[in-house]
Amino acid sequence: MPKPAAIVGQIVLYGAFAAFIGYFATSPVYRQIGDDVALIKLSMSHLGGRECRKRSADELAKLPPNMRAPLECPRERSDIRLQLELDGKPMFEAVMHPTGLSKDGVSTVYKRFEVKAGSYRIAVKMNDNLVNPGFNYIKEAQVTLKPAQVLVIDFNPDKGGLFFQ
């Protein structure tokens, strides 16, 4: 039979165990970003362009009937150039390379930027085929970001290219 002092000691130690578990299961409270900060997530996954050549009638005739594709396209995809500007100042610029051993996969990017909440002029420019100069996709807008808001900048050809969400 345990002594009363041992029983009291056990109760205290079991209580300390529960308190330790209970405290660190929820505390201290963690704040990932400041109270007046918003997040811009720039992320896209897109196949770069490639230069296809139209086969001539002679070339097509020489091919087996089941392989007479009118266009001859290389497997390799182009790098993609991406630029993000905030109020006219460059915030991010990169050339994304296609994935895959044969460089025939998508080019991807995932970046997040913490900015003070407020109104910004955001411009995103993309060139998905670097044989051409400049940018073939541009999206520019005045955006007001609330504290803790997440603004996603993505690309989807079905949604008209670059878009803010």
């Binding site: 345990p2 002092a5 041992a6 000691g9 056990q10 130690l13 079991y14 209580g15 165990f17 529960a18 330790f20 578990i21 209970g22 660190f24 299961a25 929820t26 505390s27 201290p28 409270v29 963690y30 704040r31 990932q32 970003i33 109270d35 900060v37 918003a38 997040l39 997530k41 992320s43 996954s45 994935t99 895959g100 996969g105 998508v106 991807t108 990017v109 995932y110 803790a148 808001q149 997440v150 996603v152 993505d154 969400q165």
Partner: protein, 521 residues
């Protein structure tokens, strides 16, 4: 530096265990049964998890609603079980890490313990993967933060074609099937954990699959009280268009995310892979030289199987005797043998009353043969003087008894107290000693797991070879003491000596014995 660090950690654990012993005793002391306690928490997780799984709706809106329903409408059962599930997972992680630290501090990670150590390392990964995934299922703000932080961390590794964090980019990025897969992962990984635990304890005998009943009830009551006082509740539902603000984070499991935020994914992966690699290579870093393993003497092994029954590491098996048809013989697996000598203590041939000049037993330790122990005992008994002659048998892993050696005290240190055949106590008393002290590790603290338990049972006539009835119990004192308790042992020995001197005349003595010596081996 490293040895000093480990030594300090060991001392810290020992002192904490002794402190807890004062309230719990050895059997109920949580620090002495961390592995079994971890298993117990795992079973609590499985039991509470089965109920949660049964009521979980795995659609995007359903997961949050169905889990929230438990806490609000069914707080008395589902809510309590949900809280128990969360807190038991934290307790599991806590005791798992303490178990790891304690085994390291006690130097239990190389040699014959290599297998258990190595198989334990992946279990840490399983525990954290399962724990982190479990938080996602609730799909509240904490789940959102953890899911995004985990995938961002994973994306640093060059494994994925597309960033996995894109799965949590916007509210319409995920669908119902995500949670179905998540539930399967949250069940599958723990199943792998249980399988890994089976391998982890596979090479030891008489595994403590559960702690003592008192310890189970005490910890369960603590967690239930915590569940009632501070129920585990969901945060606001996940909203991928907002960054979760103040997060009441579970630091036992999710600490890795803030750590990534304040450092970098590269630093965290370096820490994770570095720590894993370190744990894997630790057994091969400089360590004490391996001790010689037990050797079987075919001529003296009668195949009784006691060594097989007593070995804490299943290193002894029984096989057909090569010279005696129909008989068995003990066989030692050198890879499993801990060199504790418990087998020598269990062997019926280890009795010092045998008349052979050189005592050869059935199974023995080359570094400290039973014959050497008998010679040492006889030599010390012959030289003892004073009014009360004491023999103290101790353990190399416990208090160093050699400091007690004096003109009236013969101190003999063994590989483990479990190596002591009880007949040696009778032999000492019948050969001139007035009393015998046997000291070994505290309950639950034996370096070889079962040495002190077997000794206690042998002296209490509950285990073979047992101490014969003719030995008066008042001339024997069993003193459990940890490595650092030399002062307590000295006090116990002094008290025992005083007691013996007080009632010397009234106390019965076993008949005197003088070994008839011959020279037959």
């Amino acid at each position: 530096m490293y040895a000093s660090l480990r030594g300090n950690a060991q001392t810290l654990f020992e002192r904490s265990e002794i402190f807890f012993d004062a309230f719990f005793g050895g059997t109920d002391n949580p620090l002495r049964h961390l592995g079994a306690l971890g298993l117990y928490f795992l079973w609590l997780l499985v039991a509470s998890g089965l109920y949660l799984y049964a009521v979980l709706d795995t659609s995007i809106d359903g997961v949050y609603r169905s889990i929230g329903h438990l806490s609000q409408q069914q707080w008395y059962l589902g809510g309590i079980l949900r809280s128990l599930h969360r807190y038991a997972s934290d307790a599991f992680v806590l005791v798992m890490m303490l178990h790891l630290l304690r085994e390291w501090a006690c130097g239990r990670y190389y040699g014959f313990r290599l297998y258990s150590w190595i198989t334990g390392v992946p279990l840490i990964w399983f525990a954290y993967i399962s724990g982190i995934g479990g938080y996602w299922i609730v799909w509240d703000r904490v789940a959102q933060y953890s899911a995004i932080a985990t995938t961002e961390l994973l994306d640093w590794l060059p494994f994925f074609n597309e960033p996995t964090a894109r799965n949590f980019l916007a509210p319409d990025s995920i669908n119902d099937r995500f949670f179905t897969i998540l539930v399967f992962i949250h069940i599958g990984i723990p199943l792998m954990l249980i399988l890994g635990l089976w391998a982890h304890v596979n090479r030891i005998s008489r595994v403590d699959y559960l702690p003592s009943r008192n310890l189970m009830l005490g910890t369960l009551a603590s967690l239930l009280a915590l569940a009632a006082i501070q129920p585990a509740l969901s945060q606001a539902p996940a909203n991928l268009s907002l960054v979760p603000a103040a997060l009441p984070l579970d630091w036992f499991i999710l600490f890795i995310h803030p750590l990534t935020d304040v450092t970098s994914p590269a630093a965290v992966w370096a820490l994770i892979f570095g720590a894993t690699l370190l744990l894997f290579v630790l057994p091969w870093l400089p360590r004490p030289k391996a001790q010689p393993v037990a050797l079987v003497d075919a001529a003296n092994c009668n195949g009784c199987g006691r060594c097989h029954a007593d070995c804490p590491y299943e290193a002894v098996t029984m096989a057909g005797h090569p010279d005696k048809p129909g008989h068995r013989i003990a066989v030692v697996d050198p890879g499993l043998c801990a060199a504790c000598g418990i087998c020598a203590g269990s062997c019926p041939s280890s009795t010092p009353f045998r008349s052979q000049e050189r005592l050869v037993t059935g199974i023995d330790m080359p570094q400290q043969p039973v014959d050497a122990v008998r010679r040492q005992l006889e030599a010390r008994l012959a030289g003892l003087g004073g009014t009360t002659k004491l023999v103290v048998f101790g353990c190399e892993r416990g208090v160093d008894v050699r400091s007690l050696d004096a003109a009236d005290t013969a101190a003999i240190s063994l590989l483990c107290t479990g190596m002591l055949p009880p007949s040696f106590i009778e032999y000492a008393l019948r050969s001139g000693a007035d009393g015998v002290v046997v000291t070994g590790c505290r309950d639950g603290g034996c370096d070889f797991r079962l040495g002190m338990q077997w000794t206690q049972e042998r002296l209490d006539h509950r285990r073979e070879p047992h101490l014969r009835e003719l030995v008066p119990q008042d001339r024997l004192r069993l003193v459990p003491a940890s490595r650092s308790e030399s002062r307590q042992l000295l006090v116990a020995v002094t008290e025992f000596r005083t007691e013996l001197e007080t009632r010397m005349a009234a106390s019965r003595r076993p008949p005197t014995y003088s070994r008839r010596k011959n020279h037959h081996a």
